[in-house]
């Protein structure tokens, strides 16, 4: 949201710098973005995500100082970090739990966008960049999980890389290219380490684009209406920077509780068993944040179509701005669509539960029904609801939504 510059250089040195490199002006104007006054706490997760990106980068750089990407040493080097390196147990747990909390925050952030229609025009690019960031996060999470070289690392890597073998004709060649051999092994581990270190660079660039796009179109808000009046908005700093910081502290408290007191809660015990290419653990499960998609993969009884449906389940989210035909953004004013939305949230959670269960009997049938709901929500429910639903009346402005109609009259 372009706005007049609010920066006035006072001291001589500030004036001198402003004429040569207006970097302070850039920062001050960036922080002064007019922001809807009605944002609730669900809007604080963008800042929380940035916090976790920084946590992952800082702890990751440190872990790389002690980690050895070799098939006979990787497992021991992680144990060495945890047992011997000064503060290593805390740093390693911060990184592994940081990944999980990164995903908790991103799922809340995505669902907030879906609930309040944050993907709708003119925020399509902002949304698509977000989906790209999410996919990069998944790639990064997967690559990172392979590095400790436990049983789940090896077999998770085997299953995921084998997804590409489903591609007709060139699948086999692609998997050998990914492995650098005939199975997941030393070359695979070494390159996954390199690529895992590359990820935050790419992520950081896309986060920059995401925030840039945000500053062009401005934040959406719980009522899903644009800023119209002067009193509809407040400068981002210090009103929302403080609110974000407060939420960040609360969220970080939960995070450090896990880091200090239950660091392995979201991990899998099998990853404390050294990687063994001769034995597959009886129940391979990916990290919890992939489970809904893993359930979709296993719901389809055909290899190629299973892979296609799994990737499509993620890709379809990028098309939301065009699949949702409603002109009203926020679910607050869309009572019918709201029910379907909560149905979708329940579907995601249940698929996550099913992804951790063995692929047999009733679990498979339930996965199929929920997979159908996942896709029907996007390609049937949202397009049709836009045309058929009865929406509630939107407030005249954000200020009216906050203060009520009477207060608006009194002001006049």
């Amino acid at each position: 949201m372009a706005h007049e510059s609010v920066y006035t250089p006072n001291s001589g040195i500030e004036k001198w710098l402003d004429e040569r490199l207006p970097i302070i002006r850039l920062g001050v104007d960036f922080m002064a973005m007019p922001t809807p006054r009605n944002l609730n706490y669900w809007w604080t997760f963008g800042g929380i995500l940035f916090f976790f990106l920084m946590v992952q980068i800082i702890t990751g750089i440190i872990l790389a100082m002690h980690y050895i990407p070799h098939e006979s040493m990787a497992f021991d080097s992680v144990e060495h970090i945890v047992r011997d390196v000064n503060w290593g147990d805390m740093l390693q747990n911060m990184h592994s739990n940081g990944a999980s909390f990164f995903f908790i925050a991103v799922y809340i952030h995505i669902l907030r966008g879906m609930y309040y229609g944050s993907y709708k025009a003119p925020r399509e690019m902002l949304w698509i960049l977000g989906v790209i960031i999410y996919v990069l996060m998944m790639a990064s999470g997967f690559l990172g999980y392979v590095l400790p070289w436990g049983q789940m690392s090896l077999w998770g890597a085997t299953v995921i890389t084998n997804l590409f073998s489903a591609i007709p004709f060139v699948g086999g060649a692609i998997t050998e290219l990914l492995w650098g051999g005939y199975a997941v092994g030393q070359p695979t581990l070494n390159r996954f380490f390199s690529l895992h270190y590359l990820m935050p660079l790419i992520l950081f660039a896309f986060v920059g684009l995401h925030i840039w796009a945000l500053h062009v179109v401005g934040s959406n808000n719980p009522d899903g209406i644009e800023i119209k009046l002067k009193e509809d908005s407040l400068p981002f700093h210090s009103y929302f920077s403080m609110k974000d910081a407060f939420a960040m502290v609360l969220f970080a408290m939960i995070y450090v509780y896990f880091v200090f007191f239950m660091p392995d809660y979201m991990g899998h015990p099998d990853n404390y068993v050294r990687a063994n290419p001769m034995v597959t653990p009886p129940h391979i499960v990916p990290e919890w944040y992939f489970l809904p998609f893993y359930a979709i993969l296993r719901a389809i009884p055909d290899k190629l179509f299973g892979v296609i449906f799994m990737f499509a389940a993620i890709a379809i989210v990028a098309f939301l701005p065009w699949l949702d035909t409603s002109r009203v953004r926020s679910m607050r004013y869309r009572p019918t669509a709201k029910l379907f939305f909560w149905g979708f949230v329940a579907t995601g959670l249940l698929l996550g539960y099913l992804g951790a269960k063995p692929a047999e009997g009733g679990y498979v049938i339930a996965s199929r029904i929920l997979t159908a709901y996942w896709f029907l929500y996007f390609i049937v429910a949202l397009p049709l609801l836009g045309w058929t639903q009865k929406t509630k009346t939107l407030p005249g402005s954000i200020t009216e939504a906050v203060l009520g109609k009477d207060a608006m009259k009194n002001n006049k």
Partner: protein, 178 residues
């Protein structure tokens, strides 16, 4: 120079510009190849292509697993009943139809790459205590593929039978895989 003039005349400069651009694109594409191909299996990986296995200690009904090219290879000394059951099913409809006789060199020795053709897990069934699935061969715990005692896929998401590696019997008791 008028706009019309520019559109009409294909100048020597246009030709050179397009030619140079096209050639730069070809050169760029060719230069990418080494950066991609370096990821393919290297010379030392390819050098580990074959192993020799002594199968003397494997009694009838037993099975061993050996590591070949980073993958497990199943060597099963099949019983007469297992061979008969595999041959009996030759004409049954299955996802990847193949005769048992086409999958073995010696009927009693079944040699397979122990990697599920679905997503690459190692199916269970080598040990007596393993679950061997509905068809008495192997069962992949990851996504529930059932293989019979010829290693053919009978039920589940895997598209193909367990692969037969290239092998030959150097003597009656030594087999070379690869």
């Amino acid at each position: 120079m008028s706009a019309k003039h520019e559109e009409d005349v294909v100048s020597r400069r246009d030709f050179l510009f397009l030619g140079a651009g096209a050639w730069a694109a070809v050169g760029g594409a060719a230069a990418i190849w080494p950066f991609v191909d370096q990821m393919n299996p290297d010379a030392s990986t390819k050098a580990l292509a074959s192993i020799e296995v002594d199968i003397t200690p494997v009694q009838v009904g037993q099975a061993i697993t050996v590591l070949w090219r980073g993958k497990p290879v199943f060597i099963r000394h099949r019983t007469a009943e297992e061979i008969a059951a595999a041959e009996k099913d030759d004409e049954t409809a299955m996802p990847d139809p193949q005769k048992d006789g086409d999958r073995v060199q010696k009927k009693e020795w079944l040699i397979l790459v122990g990697v599920c053709t679905h997503l690459g897990c190692v199916p269970g069934g080598q040990k007596a205590s393993d679950i061997r699935g509905d068809f008495g061969g192997w069962f992949c715990p990851c996504h529930g593929s059932h293989y019979d005692n010829s290693g053919r896929i009978r039920k589940g998401p895997a598209p193909l039978n367990l692969a037969v590696p290239s092998y030959k019997f150097l003597t009656d008791t030594v087999v070379q895989i690869g």
